[in-house]
C-alpha cells in the first residue's frame, strides 16, 4: 500500500505544478455524521463555483490571462484527525494554490492553525462563532463569513421585543438547544439577550444531538406558558420538531427553529405547512443576483441551495476569485485583498469584510408564501417584515 500511496502522491504533485492551472484543494465530509451539513452548504457551492469559473475560461489573473481550476477533493470522513491530515496533505504534498475549508465550526478551527502556518487564506464559510474577532487576531489570514451567535440572537430578540410590544406574544420563551458547539453557543448568547430584553425563559433545555423523538420535550415546552418557541437545532431535530409540533398541535405565535428550516426540502418535509416558521438566514426574493445564483445552483447541482449558509459560502468563493483577479496567485496578497477589498458578490455589489468578518448577513428569516424571506436586519435593504403570529398548522 505504501508504494501505491507514493505513486498517487507523485501524480497529484505533478499536476499541481502545472502552470496552466490553479489547483484548489479541499477536504469535506463526504461520509460520517457531518456529511449532511457539508452536502447541503459547502460541497455543492464549491462544485458550482469551480464549474462556473472554468466554464468562463478559468480564473482571471491580473494580466488578464486565465487559468483553469483543478480540484483536489478529499473526504475527511467527519473525523478531526482526518481533516487535519487532509489539509496537511493539500498544503505540503499536493502543494495546491488555495485551500477551501471544511464544514463546521470545529473542523474549521482544527485546520485554522495549519492554514495559517502554511500561509493559506482561510475563508471559514460554514462556521458560526462568537470568537471570530479573537481568531482573526490569532490567525490574521482567517476570514469568517457566518457571523456569531450573538448576532443571530440579538436579531431575533429585536423581533421578539417588537412583537411583545405589539401584543402578539407574552413574556415567556421556551427554548431548547442541541448539546453541541453550535447549539450551546447560541443558547449561551440567547440567555442573557432574552433576559436583558425582559423576557422570562420558562423552559430551557438542551438535548443530545442523537435525539430523534421530541414528543416529551415539546409537551413540556408547551406547558411552559410561552408564546415563543426557540430551538437551536440541527436538521434532523428541526425536521422532527416540526413534525411533532404538527402532531401535538403545538402552535406558538413564534416558532423559531435552527438549521434545516432554511433547506429547500423543508416545506416538503413539513407537509407543506411552513408558513410563519422562522429560522436563521433568509433571502431577499427580489434580489436578482441571488435569484440568479439560486437558479444556477439548481441547474448545475440539480437542487436548490439552502436559504442561509449556501449563499455566504458562495459569496466567499466569489471574493476569492475576485481577489485573485486583482492581485494574482500570491496568497499573502490575496489575503490582504480579502481583508481590505470591496467585492461584487451574490450578496450585493459592495460586499466587504469588517475586521476579516462578513457582517452583511441576513440574521433571521421566515417562511412567507412559500419563500424563506429575510426579516432581519430589520428595516434593512430588501428585508420583509416578520409576520406574526404564525398561522395555524394546515
Amino acid at each position: 500500500a505504501t508504494a501505491a500511496l507514493l505513486v498517487t502522491a507523485g501524480a497529484t504533485a505533478s499536476f499541481a505544478q502545472d502552470d496552466d492551472t490553479v489547483t484548489i484543494g479541499y477536504a469535506v465530509s463526504k461520509s460520517g455524521p457531518n456529511a449532511g451539513g457539508s452536502d447541503m452548504t459547502v460541497t455543492p457551492n464549491y462544485e458550482l463555483w469551480v464549474e462556473e469559473v472554468n466554464a468562463a475560461g478559468g480564473l482571471t489573473l491580473p494580466d488578464g490571462s486565465q487559468k483553469m481550476i483543478e480540484v483536489i477533493a478529499y473526504d475527511d470522513r467527519s473525523s478531526a484527525e482526518e481533516v487535519v491530515r487532509a489539509v496537511e496533505r493539500l498544503a505540503t504534498q499536493d502543494e495546491v494554490d488555495f485551500i477551501l475549508p471544511p464544514w463546521g465550526t470545529g473542523f474549521n478551527l482544527a485546520v485554522a492553525p495549519l492554514m495559517a502556518r502554511h500561509g493559506y487564506p482561510h475563508l471559514a464559510g460554514a462556521a458560526v462563532t462568537d470568537k471570530a474577532p479573537d481568531f482573526v487576531q490569532r490567525w490574521d489570514s482567517s476570514f469568517w463569513f457566518m457571523g456569531g451567535s450573538a448576532d443571530y440572537v440579538d436579531a431575533l430578540t429585536e423581533i421578539l421585543v417588537a412583537e411583545r410590544e405589539a401584543g402578539t406574544i407574552n413574556n415567556n420563551i421556551a427554548m431548547v438547544s442541541v448539546a453541541d458547539g453550535f447549539g450551546i453557543d447560541l443558547v449561551k448568547a440567547a440567555r442573557p439577550a432574552f433576559t436583558e430584553a425582559g423576557f422570562e425563559i420558562s423552559y430551557d433545555k438542551s438535548f443530545p444531538p442523537e435525539t430523534s423523538d421530541f414528543a416529551t420535550i415539546l409537551s413540556e415546552a408547551s406547558s411552559a406558558d410561552a408564546n415563543t418557541f426557540v430551538a437551536f437545532s440541527y436538521p434532523p431535530h428541526t425536521f422532527a420538531l416540526t413534525k411533532q409540533a404538527q402532531v401535538a398541535d403545538f402552535n406558538p405565535p413564534v416558532f423559531y427553529l435552527g438549521v434545516g428550516a432554511a433547506f429547500p426540502v423543508y416545506p416538503g418535509i413539513a407537509g407543506g405547512s411552513v408558513e410563519g416558521i422562522m429560522s436563521l438566514g433568509g433571502i431577499d426574493p427580489d434580489n436578482t443576483l441571488n435569484a440568479a445564483y439560486r437558479a444556477r445552483h439548481e441547474d448545475v447541482i440539480g437542487r436548490a441551495p439552502d436559504y442561509w449558509g449556501s449563499v455566504l459560502v458562495y459569496a466567499s468563493l466569489q471574493m476569492l476569485g475576485e481577489s485573485i483577479q486583482r492581485v494574482g496567485l500570491d496568497r499573502a496578497a490575496v489575503a490582504e485583498e480579502l481583508s481590505t477589498g470591496t467585492f461584487s458578490t451574490v450578496l450585493g455589489e459592495e460586499t466587504r469584510l469588517e475586521d476579516n468578518q462578513l457582517r452583511a448577513i441576513n440574521w433571521v428569516g421566515q417562511w412567507q408564501n412559500g419563500q424563506f424571506v429575510a426579516v432581519s436586519p430589520t428595516g434593512g435593504d430588501g428585508m420583509a417584515a416578520a409576520q406574526l403570529p404564525k398561522p395555524d398548522w394546515d
Binding site: 498517487t8 460520517g32 478529499y74 484527525e81 505540503t92 470545529g106 482544527a110 458547539g181
Partner: protein, 304 residues
C-alpha cells in the same frame, strides 16, 4: 541471542522513525503520526483484550477523556503535568469500570463497554452544557505535527515494551489462561480479578495518553469530535486483523490498514466506503486468523 538482535533492529527502526519528520514533508509526518497513534491504541488495546478475549469498545471513552483532560487543563497546568493528570484520570476511570464489569462476559462485555463510552460522552456533554456552560474547548499548545508524533512514538515504544515484558512474564501466561478458562486459571492460583483489573488499567491508561497527546492537533475539542466511536472500532479491527494475541500483531494490523485507509481516501475519495468495504470482506475471507497467522501459515506451507 535472538532477542538481542531483535532489540537492535527495533532500536534502529526507532531511530529512523524518530528522525523521519526532519526529512519528509509535513503530510507524511501526519501520516506517521496517525499511524503511530493507532499502533499504540491497538497494542494497548490488545494488552488486555488480546489474551483475555474481553473485546472492549471503551477505547474511545479513555481516548476522549485523555483529550478532554488536556482541553480543560492546558491553560492552567504545565503540559507534562497535564499528561500526568490525564493518565491518572484514565487509570481511576479504568479501575472503576474494571471493578464493575468483572461479571460480564462475551458480547455482554462488548456492548457494555460501548455503552460505557457513550455514557461518558453524554455525561461530559451534559456537564459542559449545564455546569461549565462551555461546549467546545480550545487547545492552543504550540505543537506541530512532528512534536505530537515524537510523543506518540515514545508512547508506542513504551507500550510495545510493556506488551513484550508482560508477554514474557507469568502475568502473560495467566492472561492467556484467563482467556481460555477463568475457572481453571483461578483454581491454578491466579487472582483472576486482580490481574484483569491491573491489565485493564494499564491498557486504559495508555489509551488515555494517546488521546491526551493527540488533542493539541485538533485545536478545538468537543465531545462529538473526541468521543467518535470510530476510534474504538478502528482499534478493534486493526488489532483483530493483525492478531491480538501476538506482540507485533496489532502493529502489523494497524500499519497496513491505516495506509490502506489513507490511500483509499486519497485515491478514491468518492468511493472510499464501497472499496473499503469490499476489501474488508475480502481480507476476512483470505486471512481468517489475521495477517500474522497468514504469514505463519505461508511460512509453514513453504517449508513442507
Amino acid at each position: 541471542m535472538k532477542t538481542s538482535y531483535a532489540f537492535i533492529l527495533a532500536a534502529v527502526a526507532l531511530v529512523i522513525l524518530a528522525a523521519a519528520p526532519l526529512f519528509i514533508p509535513e503530510y507524511w509526518t501526519g501520516v506517521l503520526l496517525g499511524m503511530t497513534g493507532y499502533v499504540t491504541l491497538a497494542t494497548a488495546w490488545a494488552l488486555f483484550s488480546g489474551p483475555t478475549r474481553y473485546v472492549s469498545l471503551a477505547t474511545v471513552a479513555f481516548f476522549g477523556v485523555g483529550a478532554y483532560t488536556v482541553a480543560v487543563l492546558n491553560e492552567t497546568l504545565p503540559y507534562p503535568l497535564v499528561l500526568l493528570c490525564a493518565a491518572g484520570i484514565g487509570a481511576v476511570m479504568a479501575l472503576v469500570v474494571g471493578l464493575s464489569t468483572l461479571r460480564l462476559a462475551g458480547v455482554y462485555f462488548v456492548i457494555f463497554t460501548f455503552g460505557l463510552a457513550e455514557l461518558v460522552r453524554q455525561t461530559v456533554s451534559w456537564w459542559e452544557v449545564n455546569v461549565t456552560y462551555t461546549m467546545g474547548r480550545y487547545v492552543f499548545l504550540p505543537f506541530e505535527g512532528r512534536h505530537i508524533y515524537w510523543q506518540l512514538l515514545a508512547l508506542a515504544t513504551v507500550t510495545l515494551l510493556i506488551s513484550w515484558a508482560i508477554g514474557r512474564s507469568r502475568i502473560g501466561l495467566a492472561m492467556k489462561a484467563i482467556g481460555d478458562d477463568e475457572t481453571v486459571a483461578a483454581h491454578a492460583g491466579v487472582d483472576v480479578t486482580r490481574l484483569k483489573l491491573m491489565l485493564f488499567v494499564i491498557s486504559a491508561t495508555l489509551i488515555t495518553l494517546v488521546g491526551a497527546i493527540q488533542a493539541p492537533r485538533w485545536t478545538y475539542i468537543e465531545p462529538s469530535i473526541v468521543f467518535n466511536p470510530t476510534v474504538s472500532f478502528m482499534t478493534l479491527i486493526m488489532a483483530l486483523l493483525g492478531g491480538a494475541m501476538r506482540l507485533w500483531g496489532p502493529l502489523v494490523g494497524a500499519v497496513p490498514l491505516f495506509l490502506l485507509f489513507e490511500w483509499l481516501s486519497v485515491s478514491f475519495p468518492d468511493h472510499f466506503s464501497i472499496i473499503l468495504g469490499l476489501l474488508f470482506i475480502l481480507i476476512v475471507f483470505v486471512m481468517p486468523n489475521g495477517v500474522l497467522a497468514k504469514f505463519d501459515e505461508l511460512r509453514k506451507g513453504g517449508r513442507t
